[in-house]
Symmetry: C2
Subunit: 248 residues, 2 copies
């Protein structure tokens, strides 16, 4: 049985998409059938690996997701591309629980064929993120070690807890990864310490340093692992992958 990770943090620009793309690539490269699911109407995960968003998405038209899954240039890595039409989903009245259950069922069925599923979420705690949490076994939170990092965490933890109460025994807190790490900044050390004090063992030892190759890779439609195989960004995401596999 596979593991499904929800890559979530309502704070913007902390590396959710970058972590989704690069960790999914690393997992596929280490021999595991992996599905990358783009749940963001902005479709950055889709374009970041050189693919196009779709107008007609299986989750919107109530179809099994295999109808929309694409293979990628990376062996064993598939993509369920995002769609701009998710924007309508995210503003639907939140009491349409029938529709929610359909989405959740399609995603869960589709996920069953993979060793790893990674779901890239938008910077919000709305319907899209909650749906992703409801089909996931684990939440993986990227955190950027700057001042606003700690602020939204309490809210995120509330939402995660409420999903855990709805579906007991399914969702766990998978891990926290510190991203865009700038060792030279004292503030970075302070936030790092605060996050580790607060969350303890679930914080990965691996931190992802700020690396220009990571910034450039999506403009070539590639993960940093393919774009710059010997870069610090690549090494970090390969190490993060090893830590994820060890926790299995």
């Amino acid at each position: 049985m596979g593991r499904t990770f929800c890559i979530a943090n309502q704070k913007g620009g902390v590396g959710k998409t970058t972590t989704s793309i690069n960790l999914a690539t690393a997992l596929a490269r280490s021999g595991h059938h992996t599905l990358l699911v783009d749940m963001d109407p902005q479709c950055n995960a889709t374009s970041g690996i050189g693919q196009q968003p779709v107008d007609r998405h299986p989750l919107i038209v109530d179809q099994a997701i295999r109808h929309g899954v694409l293979s990628t240039d990376v062996d064993r890595l598939d993509l369920l591309p995002g769609s701009k039409s998710f924007r309508d989903l995210s503003v639907l009245a939140s009491d349409d629980s029938n529709h929610d259950e359909l989405l959740i069922e399609h995603l869960a069925n589709g996920a069953a064929r993979y060793d790893y599923v990674l779901i890239d979420c938008p910077p919000s705690l709305g319907k899209l993120t909650r749906t992703a949490l409801s089909v996931s076994n684990e939440v993986l939170m990227p955190i950027q070690c700057e001042y606003f990092a700690m602020e939204g965490l309490a809210q995120m933890i509330d939402v995660i807890r409420s999903v855990m109460l709805d579906r007991p025994g399914q969702l766990t807190f998978g891990g926290i990864v510190l991203t865009m790490y700038d060792e030279s900044l004292e503030l970075t050390q302070e936030v790092d310490q605060e996050v580790r004090d607060f969350f303890g063992e679930i914080v990965f030892d691996t931190v992802v340093p700020r690396d220009v190759h990571v910034t450039e890779a999506p403009s070539h439609g590639q993960s940093v692992i393919d774009y710059a195989p010997r870069s610090r960004g690549t090494r970090a995401y390969m190490e993060l992958c090893m830590e994820v596999l060890e926790r299995d």
Copy 2:
């Protein structure tokens, strides 16, 4: 009559809050009565200048906003703090147009007493951002010169256009400011060029460079202008302020 700016971009972490805080401070310092409105349930603009979010917000309890406005440590700069309870607002059924009109009326009335009002928005194009757009004269978009910058722009422009159609003659495209600018990156130059080709004159000449003082300032509850008066970040936001004033 004053000018009300909506600081918006649904891409996360591009410097909306940083620009709201620092431009508002610069405008107040140059002699203009300024109101900073925090419209984000994450309340970063509020904590970034050392204040507390509120549980009971005038817009939620249908009161004139002056009941919630606070003075700050900066002369002529007031703050309407954010509230976590905005999260409920952002998921309200989008057809509650009576309630929308109330919000818009309260905000517009409150704004009338100031020379400048800056509204910091969350990374989404939902109800909160649309409400902010509906009371604004101008949209100010911070853009970070990295690959995903151009992607969401088409969607943002659609939403801005639809608000302009609803309220003809009120909302204009005020300006685009390039943030966290890293001159050493070729990608930065490419995105800069693309943005200027696409948007032309509305892109400010001033770019805000990446500067550690800007990152550190909110951890001291201050704008960078107060925290590090001689830094490159401060100079950039003062220059941006001059360009905004010149366009009046």
